[in-house]
């Protein structure tokens, strides 16, 4: 048979799929819908196989594990949740992506109501002369190197309503203990505060605080825009959105801003916290 007219007639997708299957030890013919590849097509598949193999090798390269201390701390934090599982589902759900999409749509009406409530609350508090300096953006702390001494305005452990006039303490503050990092503390705080403070009641009261200890010089990353939830003169060291039941919440860990901040990119800031005590704010609405 003359090889000359046997130019590849398979599509790029078919050729790449055949190559990919070959790498994985599958039969490339499965990608060809019964088509018998021509010699040219075989050569093309072989060439693409070699090309994709370098990618496979790169993705498969070993990942350096965290330090032993970090690993142990993460495992400890997770294991501490044993016995606190909530079979009712009022926790961050474990679901497939196909199940998650409707949930996001379901939140929309609540978000609208929350936004309206927030606007009303702010207006009412403004009329009564209450100040809202806590909401001021901490733009001065953004970028470059900054050191801000802790002041008396740093939020104490107690859940006093100093983040906005519409806030009021949900319950007494909770000391959550020591954690390896701010992320672990935040996860624990979300868990601890979820059942008692953030699952019922008007949106304007959905706020709770806790505290915990993390090692000095804890570092993490955050978006500068997210610092606005925290009190002034503090530094957000962890910020995450989560879902409690169907309610979106924001978990913010902050600390007295005594640490140096080093800008590493336009979108993220590395924050080094020179304090051992962090406070956690679980806030709803976002």
């Amino acid at each position: 048979m003359n090889d000359r007219p046997s130019r590849p007639t398979l599509s790029d997708d078919q050729l790449d799929l055949a190559a990919s299957l070959a790498i994985d030890g599958q039969d490339p013919a499965d990608a060809l819908d019964g088509h018998m590849p021509t010699p040219a097509e075989r050569r093309e598949i072989e060439a693409r196989t070699a090309r994709l193999r370098s990618v496979v090798d790169a993705v498969a390269a070993p990942v350096a594990p965290p330090t032993t201390e970090r690993r142990a701390a993460q495992l400890e934090a997770a294991a501490a949740a044993l016995g606190r599982a909530d079979p009712s589902g009022a926790v961050t759900p474990i679901s497939t992506r196909t199940r998650r999409r409707p949930r996001a749509r379901a939140v929309a009406p609540w978000a609208v109501a929350a936004a309206i409530a927030a606007v009303i609350a702010v207006a009412v508090s403004a009329l009564t002369g209450q100040k809202h300096e806590r909401y001021a953006a901490t733009s001065a702390a953004e970028g470059g190197t900054a050191t801000v001494a802790p002041t008396t305005t740093v939020a104490p452990v107690a859940g006093v309503p100093q983040y906005g006039a519409q806030s009021k303490p949900a319950t007494a503050p909770t000391d959550l203990g020591s954690f390896a990092d701010a992320g672990a503390l935040a996860a624990r705080a979300r868990d601890a505060l979820s059942s008692r403070a953030l699952t019922a009641g008007p949106a304007a009261t959905q706020r709770a605080t806790a505290s915990g200890t993390v090692p000095a010089s804890t570092s993490t990353t955050c978006s500068s825009a997210l610092r606005r939830l925290a009190p002034r003169d503090t530094t957000v060291v962890y910020d995450a959105e989560a879902v409690l039941g169907t309610n979106p919440v924001r978990v913010v860990v902050y600390a007295p801003a005594t640490g140096a901040q080093t800008s590493t990119s336009t979108s993220r800031t590395l924050v080094v916290v020179d304090t051992a005590t962090c406070h956690v704010l679980v806030d709803r609405p976002l």
Partner: protein, 202 residues
């Protein structure tokens, strides 16, 4: 936990450890989580392309696993279920962070270079190094990234990946093939692995 008890747990299969952990056995849970920690972290590391994000996602995944354990019914293998939970945690993390392709600064602490990476196998091409593969993976949509990482980093077969991602096997093999092709294209265009490549959605 005694050493003897720890050794006893180490010899037990996942289903036994799961049952014990569901009954409140902390040491069984420790063994179960510790046994799979490195692979869960590796999944998060490749999915997020950033060590700090990976640690956050790993922590979230571990907590979700523990909290979801009472509802785990054993129909799927524990690893399959755990990978699904972890993949979801990674997707949540990516969504939270509003991840966008971004340049990798020279002093970026998330750069995936570490002592454990030296001498990684099959990396004889300078254009395909750890830095560039992380940057390239970030350019893939999470759905394609998950399929490729589950296959090439964790070594799951197509059926397992289909179960983890809740997708038909045909979709899985297609995503893997197209994801690999996209990665190859990205790496060839940007051998340095910088985040200046255009958005690529296979």
């Amino acid at each position: 936990m005694t050493a003897g008890r720890g050794r006893a747990h180490a010899d037990r299969a996942d289903p036994e450890l799961v049952a014990a952990a569901q009954a409140g056995d902390r040491t069984a849970l420790d063994e179960l989580l510790g046994r799979h920690y490195d692979r869960l972290h590796a999944l998060c590391r490749r999915m997020t392309g950033d060590e700090q994000d990976a640690l956050d996602a790993t922590q979230e995944a571990l907590i979700a696993i523990v909290r979801g354990l009472p509802r785990y019914d054993g129909r799927a293998a524990f690893t399959t279920w755990a990978y699904r939970v972890t993949t979801n945690a990674c997707l949540d993390e990516l969504r939270r962070r509003g991840r966008r392709p971004r340049p990798v600064a020279p002093d970026d602490t998330s750069a995936p270079l570490g002592p454990g990476d030296v001498g990684a196998p099959s990396l004889d091409q300078s254009s395909v190094d750890r830095l560039s593969i992380d940057a390239a993976l970030r350019e893939l949509s999470p759905e394609f990234r998950a399929a490729v990482v589950l296959r090439d980093q964790l070594g799951l077969d197509y059926a397992e990946i289909a179960e983890v991602l809740d997708l038909p096997p045909g979709t899985v093999r297609s995503r893997i093939a197209r994801g690999r092709r996209a990665l190859a294209t990205i790496l060839e265009r940007n051998p340095a692995g910088a985040g200046t490549v255009e958005e690529t959605t296979p």
